[in-house]
Every structure is written in structure tokens, then in C-alpha cells.
């Protein structure tokens, strides 16, 4: 898994998210995340595991788990902010 760790720098972005996060939009955003930070995000934010547990399970440090979660959330925020209202209806 360590090969999949996302070490690319991220920026906060300037977009604005809608006040309600659509489930489908979030799932699509998840699909675009690099595997490392996606795994940590799902384990922490979806499944509710602690960083200590994630670190143990994936063989990474607590700090790496925290930084991957940070990156995943910021990337998701950027993705969701980039989607205009009603984007779902326009796709496919």
C-alpha cells in the first residue's frame, strides 16, 4: 500500500462547495482519489476507524494516515467545489 501513498502537494482551492453534499457526487469524487488516500479516507470517514487502527492495519505511521486523510478531504472538496449545481443531470 505504501506505493499507493499520495505524496503530491495539494492546494486548498478557491471554489465554493454547495451546502449539501450529494451522495452520488461524493462517490464519484471518491473514485477519482489516488488509492492511498482513498483507502485512508474510507477507513476513517466512512468506516469510522481511528488513525491508530488504520496505521496498524495498513502498515503506515499515524502521521501518514493523518496526512493522507487531509489530502483526501482537500481533494474531495476541490472536486465537489468544481462541480456546478445540477452537474449530475448534465452527465451522460
Amino acid at each position: 500500500l505504501t506505493d499507493a501513498i499520495d505524496d503530491e502537494p495539494i492546494a486548498a482551492g478557491t471554489g465554493t462547495m454547495r451546502s449539501v453534499v450529494d451522495r452520488v457526487d461524493l462517490e464519484r469524487g471518491l473514485a477519482t482519489l489516488p488509492p492511498g488516500c482513498r483507502t485512508v479516507f474510507v477507513l476513517h470517514d466512512v468506516e469510522g476507524l481511528e488513525h491508530r487502527e488504520i496505521a496498524e492495519l495498513l502498515g503506515i505511521s499515524d502521521g501518514t494516515s493523518k496526512s493522507q486523510l487531509h489530502k483526501a478531504r482537500f481533494r474531495l472538496r476541490a472536486t465537489l467545489a468544481a462541480q456546478p449545481a445540477g452537474a449530475r443531470g448534465q452527465e451522460r
Binding site: 462517490e27 464519484r28 493523518k66
Partner: protein, 245 residues
């Protein structure tokens, strides 16, 4: 504390994971900085939306497609009684299985690939670098491959048997039975190799069976990841390509 400092800490801040001093410093900053406050609100919304996602159940037809991709052997064996296994408290265990399985499968694929590199029978280690041509090194690599392979199988079996409703029971049973058929082929090849360690056909047969199983595992893990990510298109693509290798 600058906006940049706050941004670095914001993910932990929304979780309340910072120490008291840092938590207070960030709180103080966002009370007066609208941009950082908006960022904190967005991160909180992302986290809360993720918490509301819950498990995503794979459609039954996906599992039937996987089962259909598995090459059935000539000697069906009765399905072994599944060992008692603790029921997982949440689908987190499935993710643990997937993550561990993926790593192990990658290792197995690597080792199997190396086993498939041409080996000249009777070649000694002299002048052959890392002794890749010696019977001992082949046996050692094979042993390592089998060990990792067994662990990967165990992870997959956990997924199939510790079914918390994500996987349809009938499909899980079909999958498990078909996998056991490949296991039978592996067991027979291992027995043949044990009887005659120099037998190239037995080694080829074992490696082919291993590759077949690794292929099934890789496909299954990839498919489950696609489904878990909510990527039905990706799942269908993986399922469609499962029989092509």
C-alpha cells in the same frame, strides 16, 4: 497563526484531534478569517457526508459474473465445511481484507512472474548472479510464493465467509466452491511436485494453477474496490475483462 498554518491543521481541527493549544489557536483564527472558516465548514461537510455513505452492496449479477469467470477443473470436490469465523462488526473488515489481499496478491504475482522466468534445468549457481537457476532458489521462491498465496486466499475467504449481507449468500457459496476446485488442482500439483521435485510438468502445472487463482483474486479485489468506490462502470469493465488473461 497564518492561513497557511491553519490550512495544514484544519483536517485534524475538524476532527478535534489537535492538542488543546493548537485547537484553540485555530479556533481563534477562523473566528476572524472567513476564508478559513469556509474551508473548515467544507471539510466538515465532506466528513459528515462520508459518514452518511454507509456500505455499498455489490449487485448480485457482479458476483455471478466473477464466478462464471473462474475456470472450473475436471475434478470437482465437495465444498469443505467453512471454518467458524468471527462475524465482523462492520464492513471495515472487508476493506482490511481488500487492502491486505491486494498487497499479498501483488507479491504473489511478482514471485510467480519470477518463477516463470526461464530456468535452465541443472544450471548451477556459478556465474548466475543471485542464484536464480538453482533448484534451492526455485524451491525457496516457490515456498515464499505459496506462503503469500495462502495468506491472500485466507483474506479472500474471510470476505466470502464473513458475509454481513454485502455479498449475496448464494453467490458467495458459488464463488467459494469454484475457488476450492482450483485449490484441488493446486493440491494435486503440489503432491506431484513433492513426489518428484525435479518434475518440470508438475512445476508448470502448479504455477499455472497459482496464476489462475491469482488472476481470480486480482479480478475479485479490483472488482470489489470498484464496487466499493461506487464505480459501477469500472466494476462492469473489470468483470468483462476477467476472462481475457
Amino acid at each position: 497563526m497564518t492561513c497557511q498554518d491553519v490550512e495544514r491543521l484544519l483536517s485534524q481541527y475538524v476532527d478535534g484531534d489537535l492538542d488543546a493549544a493548537a485547537q484553540a489557536a485555530v479556533s481563534s483564527h477562523i473566528a476572524t478569517c472567513a476564508a478559513c472558516r469556509a474551508l473548515a465548514d467544507d471539510l466538515t461537510r465532506v466528513r459528515n457526508a462520508a459518514r452518511a455513505l454507509g456500505p455499498v452492496a455489490p449487485p448480485d449479477h457482479i458476483w455471478l459474473e466473477i464466478a462464471g469467470q473462474i475456470r472450473l477443473g475436471d475434478h470437482p470436490t465437495p465444498a469443505a465445511a467453512p471454518p467458524a469465523a468471527p462475524r465482523p462488526a462492520s464492513t471495515a473488515w472487508q476493506w482490511i481484507g481488500l487492502a491486505a489481499g491486494l498487497v499479498l496478491v501483488t507479491l504473489v504475482a511478482y514471485l510467480v512472474m519470477h518463477l516463470r522466468t526461464p530456468q535452465t534445468p541443472g544450471t548451477t549457481t556459478a556465474g548466475n548472479g543471485a542464484a536464480t537457476g538453482s533448484v534451492e532458489s526455485v524451491a525457496q521462491e516457490l515456498s515464499m510464493a505459496l506462503e503469500h498465496y495462502d495468506k491472500a486466499i485466507a483474506q479472500l475467504e474471510l470476505l466470502a465467509k464473513n458475509n454481513d449481507g454485502t455479498i449475496d449468500a448464494t453467490t458467495a457459496a458459488t464463488l467459494q466452491h469454484n475457488l476450492s476446485v482450483i485449490d484441488q488442482a493446486i493440491a494435486e500439483s503440489r503432491a506431484a511436485l513433492a513426489a518428484d521435485p525435479q518434475s518440470q510438468p508438475a512445476l508448470d502445472s502448479l504455477i499455472d494453477a497459482l496464476r489462475s487463482k491469482v488472476g481470480v483474486l486480482q479480478t475479485t479485489v479490483a472488482l470489489m474496490n470498484e464496487i466499493r468506490r461506487g464505480n459501477q462502470e469500472g466494476a462492469a469493465r473489470v468483470a468483462a475483462g476477467a476472462g481475457k488473461s
